[in-house]
């Protein structure tokens, strides 16, 4: 940083010089986002082409809408349904649980306890999905698993968790929440700390109890943050948290009806069947649907709040 030569100040050009310096500071981010976010975008034309490696993306022949033939398969509807239902579950349940716990933490008001709880709640966020999959295996493996141990202790039958698809919607929702609620609690709690204590004092003088304070002050103060996170969540609703669905079921075939998601389907098209055109087409479908949803919800959020809340 120190080696950057000082540009001599010339009268009147102060603004230009400042802008150029500030722009230089932005350049690394601009370049890296260009390489990994913008450069792939033109590649979306592959969705309408038959990819031939030797001819490259631009030389490959056009194929019209044939790559979108996956819409006719039942599989795409299955993975779309799974992805949407899981994400909808997370979009609804994560904020409810996190805000509830954050408010309780805030109400407890004992600095020591708050710090201890925050540390513990944050721990699951530290683990990769690979590590979580190993931990889950300790609970669910059919022979020695902790859960089956408890079931047998109460005289029940062992359950073969890794071959019975019907349990997995609950398992995956539970694990998804387990890993994310604590982290979100910390974020919402940070939002609560910023609330002006004067508001609460005024409310107490007016005779408002704990419930009234929560409903009329705390929750409204969190709404901007809730709106932002929800809109972003809806924008990602066609994208599953891949690790959750790829690692936790240990890629067990019998579980696919309830654990397969769009991302996994795309990864298989890319890595196994090497169908680049169709893989791109599925990605385009995800991205466009996500963008449309963000625009609609942002518009709706602004409309409802009279332009006050929204992402942009």
């Amino acid at each position: 940083m120190n080696t950057i030569p000082k540009i001599r100040k010339r009268g009147g050009l102060g603004h230009t010089r400042r802008n150029v310096e500030l722009l230089i500071l932005c350049l690394p981010v601009i370049i890296i986002l260009f390489l990994f976010c913008y450069l792939p975008m033109p590649g979306l034309v592959l969705a309408f082409k038959k990819f031939r490696p030797l001819e490259g993306i631009w030389g490959s022949p056009w194929l019209g809408l044939k790559n979108f033939g996956f819409f006719k398969s039942t599989q795409i509807w299955l993975v779309t349904r799974n992805t949407l239902l899981y994400n909808l579950g997370f979009i609804v349940l994560t904020p409810i649980l996190s805000v509830a716990i954050a408010i309780i933490l805030y109400e407890i008001g004992n600095a020591r306890q708050i710090k201890a709880y925050q540390t513990i709640y944050f721990l699951p966020h530290f683990l990769s999905w690979v590590v979580v999959s190993i931990m889950l295996y300790a609970f669910l493996n059919s022979d020695q698993g902790f859960v089956n141990g408890i079931i047998v202790m109460f005289g029940g039958e062992r359950i073969s968790w890794y071959t019975e698809a019907k349990y997995w919607p609950f398992i995956l929702i539970f694990m998804g929440l387990w890993k994310s609620v604590g982290y979100n609690t910390v974020i919402y709690y940070a939002g609560l700390v910023g609330i002006d204590p004067g508001l609460y004092e005024a409310a107490s003088i007016d005779g408002a109890g704990r419930w009234k304070r929560t409903i009329y002050i705390t929750i409204p103060m969190l709404i901007p943050l809730l709106v932002i996170l929800t809109i972003l969540g809806l924008g990602r609703i066609f994208f599953a948290d891949f690790g959750l669905f790829y690692q936790l079921p240990l890629r067990s075939g019998p579980l696919l009806p309830t654990t397969d998601v769009i991302n996994y389907y795309t990864v298989r098209t890319l890595m196994i069947s090497r169908n680049y055109g169709m893989g791109t087409a599925i990605g385009l479908y995800q991205s466009v649907m996500g963008l449309v949803l963000v625009l609609i919800t942002n518009w709706a959020a602004k409309k409802v709040s009279g332009g006050e809340h929204g992402l942009f």
Binding site: K9, P40, L46, Q118, S128, I134, Q144, W178, G290
Partner: protein
């Protein structure tokens, strides 16, 4: 009056109960994992898992360290990518965030939009794969394990939000003293932004430490396999061995399987992979409440 006190105490109790319950839910899986990793394999097979080891044994860790070459290689890959990615990512994002927090920066709005748009739309997996493998030729490099991940719109905006709270007058007075923007960024803003920088560093290093997806897509060279992906592959192989053993119904392979402490080794791997990050956390924690707030993007 007494009734009011009673409900107050009851609601306090209930609140403590909820907090405690959630804490137990967070901790039990970790305790179980550690306990299994320190248990005797024979006892596990006969009596199942328990929260406290019935018979202590370090054999799982001994087994892992008997042939440590692959483990050490993958550790070293992960340490390098985490370190480089966090350092460069936080440096670059904070530089951009400094510029974007300045209302007097003429190109602020177009650049904010340029960054923001990456949150809304992406080329998807296949075009990204094409760019990395065919345009940039980054498959089987260390770079691919951290470069695409280290810059992230959300974290950049977290930093912008934080930097906006620093008073503009400080910057003005520094400018009167003849400082250029680089000096202001380095000497004035960065020391004041420590809480936000610490929070972002932690989030980013977690993300990098736990990365396996880019390895799944782009890494074939055994020397470049990061820790998490190595672990996933070992798990896979164990599963494969176990299934083969089931199919053969005992016989020769089951004898060798009995020597292999698969249950405790799995858990020991998880402990080794997650452990280092757990030690890092306490150093960052005090910055968390301050550093993690994001405001509306346009502000």
């Amino acid at each position: 009056m007494i009734e009011r006190k009673m409900t107050d105490i009851l609601s306090k109790l209930l609140m403590h109960f909820v907090l405690l319950l959630f804490a137990v839910l967070c901790l039990v899986p970790m305790i179980l994992t550690i306990s299994i990793s320190l248990s005797d394999e024979q006892d596990l097979v006969l009596n199942g898992y328990s929260l406290i080891p019935r018979i202590f044994s370090g054999s799982a860790y001994q087994f892992l360290f008997k042939n440590p070459a692959a483990l050490i290689t993958s550790y070293w890959v992960t340490i390098r990518t985490t370190f480089l990615g966090t350092l460069l990512g936080v440096l670059f994002m904070s530089m951009a965030a400094f510029s974007l927090s300045r209302k007097d920066f003429a190109w602020r709005k177009p650049i904010v939009f340029y960054i923001f748009f990456t949150m809304l739309f992406s080329g998807g997996l296949v075009p990204m794969y094409m760019v990395v493998t065919r345009t940039l030729h980054m498959q089987d490099t260390l770079l691919v394990l951290f470069m695409p991940i280290m810059i992230n719109a959300w974290n950049t905006f977290l930093l912008v939000t934080y930097l906006r709270s620093i008073s503009f007058e400080m910057i003005e007075s520094a400018k009167l003293d003849g400082a250029n923007e680089f000096t202001i960024y380095l000497r004035i803003i960065m020391p004041m932004a420590k809480p936000a920088l610490a929070a972002i560093s932690l989030l980013l290093s977690l993300r990098l430490w736990n990365e396996w997806y880019s390895a799944l897509l782009y890494i074939r060279d055994p020397k470049l396999i990061p820790l998490q992906y190595w672990m996933q592959r070992v798990m896979n192989n164990m599963q494969f061995l176990l299934m083969n053993q089931d199919m053969m119904g005992g016989g020769a392979s089951s004898i060798s399987m009995a020597d292999l402490p698969t249950q405790s080794v799995r858990m020991a791997m998880a402990v080794l992979a997650a452990g280092p990050m757990m030690f890092v956390f306490p150093f960052f924690q005090k910055y968390f409440a301050k550093g993690l707030l994001v405001g509306s993007i346009k502000g």
